[in-house]
């Protein structure tokens, strides 16, 4: 019988197609090759992507402000590289820098940044911009913060009224830059250190800013919030702004929130995209970058003040001459010289002209 007749008879009998051994082996081989091809394809695509990207580790409040959505595409367009943004807490961002899983950091906690540099994990810290924190609270404002004369007075009022049982406070409680700032502000009240175990009016959310705001809203409590997150969410909550920094009062400078960028040290890890990261930070502090930062509006309000070279305006962030000189060399967002730490040197200077 011809093959066609065999097939017809098989169909009549209801027998399904039988593969012979050779065909079976061919099919298995095909499947394995196809799978290897697909997996290999993905590996190549991802590897390529990894080569052309830098990982920026930054804080959730920075990311949620939307500033990076404006800044990053400009640099990406100029250089052809991509920035992938890890939006985590300050502590996690710094840890990613320590383990070499990020290439550049943008955080807002000067003392921790200095520790990071001193420990040799990072290089070339520079001031980029600052925004401010504000106090928000219930519309009824039981602690009468609307009439507070400065930040110390404001914090004192919250504490006093809460101890009387008329108010409460929600804290980030997550060791973030915001949380540390909040603790600093409490310390202005005669060195007060809030303890949720003892101070029943004090709650630690252990969450990011958005989630903490939701909790504060539901509990009708006072809380410290960065202006960016506030502007984005103020229409969705019943809390109101009760205290913001008064420019003419020195102690209110404690509410200012300066941001620092740091490069992760390429000598203690492999695979750090050092030059691309440097190009990105150079862009942030360049004339163009600083202008974009200063013009960024959220809900119609300006949010950040660019402060490269003039961070001395804020309380806990000082600009150094070395910093300005180094980054001016790299102005324009493009690397002209890559001066970096020497392989032979055991310590890593903040700035220097050691060449590789």
């Amino acid at each position: 019988m011809s093959e066609k007749e065999i097939k017809d008879e098989m169909r009549e009998l209801g027998i399904k197609r039988i593969w012979n051994t050779k065909q079976k082996k061919a099919i298995i081989a095909l499947v394995i090759i196809a799978t290897a091809g697909i997996v290999g394809g993905f590996l190549i695509v991802e590897y390529n992507r990894v080569q052309n990207r830098i990982i920026l580790a930054t804080t959730t409040s920075t990311y949620d402000s939307g500033l990076l959505d404006i800044l990053v595409p400009v640099w990406e367009g100029q250089t052809g590289f991509t920035v992938e943004i890890l939006s985590v807490g300050t502590g996690a961002a710094l840890r990613n820098g320590e383990s070499g899983d990020a290439d550049v950091l943008l955080v807002h906690s000067r003392s921790r940044e200095d520790d990071f540099i001193a420990a040799g994990y990072g290089l070339y810290r520079t001031c980029v911009m600052y925004n401010d924190f504000i106090l928000i609270g219930p519309a009824s404002d039981p602690a009468d913060l609307l009439n507070a004369i400065n930040i110390t007075d404001a914090m004192t009022r919250i504490k006093d009224e809460s101890e009387l049982g008329n108010a409460n406070f929600t804290s980030r409680g997550d060791a973030s830059g915001t949380h540390l700032k909040e603790l600093l502000l409490w310390s202005l009240v005669e060195g007060f250190v809030p303890d949720p175990a003892v101070n029943t009016w004090y709650d630690e959310a252990g969450e990011g800013m958005g989630a903490t705001l939701t909790i504060a809203n539901q509990q009708n409590s006072y809380t410290l919030i960065d202006r960016g997150t506030w502007l984005a969410n103020k229409d969705d909550v019943s809390l109101i702004l009760v205290y913001e920094a008064n420019d003419s009062i020195d102690i209110d400078k404690n509410l200012l929130n300066p941001y620092g960028a740091m490069l992760v040290n390429p000598l203690i890890h492999q695979g750090i995209k050092y030059e691309k990261a440097m190009s990105f930070v150079a862009f942030l502090v360049s004339e163009q970058g600083q202008k974009l930062i200063g013009e960024f509006k959220k809900e119609g309000e300006l949010l950040f003040t660019p402060c490269f070279g003039k961070c001395n305006e804020t309380h806990d962030c000082t600009t150094t001459e070395d910093e300005v000189e180094f980054w001016s060399q790299h102005n324009g967002g493009h690397i002209r010289t890559t001066s970096g730490p020497s392989l032979a040197s055991a310590d890593y200077p903040l700035y220097g002209t050691v060449s590789i």
């Binding site: 990894v50 990982i55 958005g210 705001l213 019943s238 492999q270």
Partner: protein, 234 residues
């Protein structure tokens, strides 16, 4: 209470408009989620089905011990797997030089490691639960070991497929591991689950609800397929 309820209603409305307007970010999330879960579980199946059925048919030294280990790994907490893979792939870790941390490759690796024991275990159970009479008949017909294996796999294909769907279901709804090793990077490693966590924490319920609806739909479809398969099995 009032404000939260408004949020949710606004969220549902936004969810439907996002779904039907083919919002590119939403579709990117769908693509990443399905790609990561599908590929990792398919490769896991290609490894696990042969091994699982082999374990069911052969007797070897230490079989009981290995079976116990396998059962334990089936219940391996996904987020711990994520931590493990993170430590291995971190730049400070042993396999950091690949640079795969915060990529879909890392996510696929952790889901592969989670799915393989599941599929192995269910395949083994499926083959072991085949009627021993059928096994005897096949052997008495003169089948060699490989032919026996193939016949039993064909006979239990519904159960094996069900095991695969369990693994896929776990993969697509997993949140801890993919967040840790993927980093929830926008446009690159953001999945249903990581996006829902992130959006909810920000208070942006619209996209979170849209993703939640889709995820529930997928879970329903999987469950329906599972039930259908199990009903068909004798």
């Amino acid at each position: 209470m009032g404000i939260l309820a408004n949020d949710i209603i606004d969220g549902i409305i936004e969810a439907f408009s996002l779904l039907f307007s083919f919002d590119p970010e939403l579709w990117n999330i769908i693509e990443v989620s399905i790609r990561v879960s599908l590929i990792s579980t398919l490769i896991a199946a290609m490894v696990a089905i042969p091994f699982g059925s082999f374990m069911a048919l052969r007797d070897f030294k230490g079989k009981k011990a290995i079976s116990n280990v396998l059962n334990t790994f089936m219940g391996f907490p996904p987020v711990v797997m994520g931590l493990l893979v993170f430590l291995l792939l971190s730049n400070s870790g042993p396999f950091g030089f690949f640079g795969f941390l915060y990529t879909t490759i890392a996510m696929m690796i952790s889901q592969f490691l989670l799915s393989t024991p599941i599929i192995m275990g269910t395949t083994k159970a499926a083959i072991e639960s085949v009627d021993p009479l059928l096994k005897e008949i096949i052997i008495s017909l003169g089948a060699n070991e490989r032919q026996l294996w193939w016949e039993l796999v064909k006979d239990s294909k519904r159960s094996i497929l069900a095991g695969y769907l369990v693994a896929f279901g776990q993969a697509i709804s997993e949140v801890g591991a993919v967040m840790i090793v993927g980093g929830n990077l926008r446009w690159h490693t953001r999945t249903f689950t990581t996006a829902i966590v992130w959006q909810t924490r920000m208070g942006e319920f619209g996209m979170a609800i849209a993703l939640g609806i889709l995820l529930i739909l997928i879970a329903f479809l999987l469950n329906y397929a599972l039930t259908y398969l199990q009903m068909g099995e004798k």
